[in-house]
Amino acid sequence: MTAASITVSETPLVLYVLRRADDALVLGHRLSEWCGHAPMMEEDMAMANMGLDLLGQARELYGYAAKVEGKDNDEDTLAYLRDVRQYRNLLLLEQPNGDFARTMVRQFFYAAFSDLYWRAMMASRDATLAAIAAKSEKESAYHLRHSSEWMVRLGDGTEESHRRAQLAVDDLWAFTGEMFAVDDSERGLIDAGIAIDPESLRTQWLATVARVIDEATLKLPANDWMQKGGRIGHHTEHLGHLLSELQSMQRTFPGATW
């Protein structure tokens, strides 16, 4: 017996909230994959902590999406019973952990964005989103600090750590453009003051990224071709595998609790 996927009525606000919820859940799940496998016990705890921050954000966002949708869905069905093509997260966040450097580069690119994003969203006209932003902003600020420190130590560390960090920067760079993309469904929310225009964060994001990359003696890639598709459910091959693990329990034993 397996549980079938749900359908979601993706009004602009539902879709907007789902996209951010999926971001948090997918990255949080990636971090949880390190649990028990990190290079050192201290970092095992640090990544689990960040993962739990993101899981907390995901829960609040899913709960709100379900409330706005006003159907039978709840945070659990939204997380566990949507298929890969229904997921709306950024491609960057579903990329495999790879080595520790790759995980930290991915975290750094996203935290440099989410720190700015949530801070700006505290001014949202949507009171719930503003409240979620106020909580998430402090968490993201720490994720940025933690990943920035590691960027510098990996980049400016040994020859091997430098090589791995630069490789991750080069490989993941093409996934960063999607953070700043806006489609028609989001444009209306931006005009209404519910969402913020991510384009307004780009200059500051790039300044932060460039400063840390420079301190880390790494190089920003020159290419500006950007991959996208996650926001409309066109994912890389990695997300399906992630979801098969994340959802296996609820798919196999629908409604199971303990």
Partner: protein, 95 residues
């Protein structure tokens, strides 16, 4: 799992209403900044503290356990040093 590049640090936390930093444990980290972050992640996950100190374990000079007779036993017979022969007025507060 310690590596040669990650020395040991001692962690001290001042709790929400504590008056002094207390030793809570130790951890491995490459440098002071990362040690502080690791201390935050390991020792303040349940809201235990509002301030953290990290100190390189190598900076601590410890007494030798084999000398504890010489170091500590002489104090044991000097009961008159304990302030138990008078009452502390309540207004004095915490001492």
């Amino acid at each position: 799992m310690a590596t040669p590049n990650s020395p040991l640090w001692e962690v001290f936390i001042r709790s929400r209403n504590g008056l002094a930093h207390k030793h809570v444990g130790s951890l491995h980290a490459a440098d002071a900044t990362l040690a502080l972050q690791a201390a935050r992640d390991i020792y303040t996950r349940r809201g235990e503290g509002l301030s953290i100190w990290v100190v390189p374990s190598s900076a601590i000079t410890a007494s030798d356990p084999s000398e504890k007779g010489m170091m500590f036993e002489p104090a044991e017979s000097k009961i008159y040093r304990h302030p138990t022969f008078y009452d502390v007025p309540e207004e004095v507060g915490h001492m």
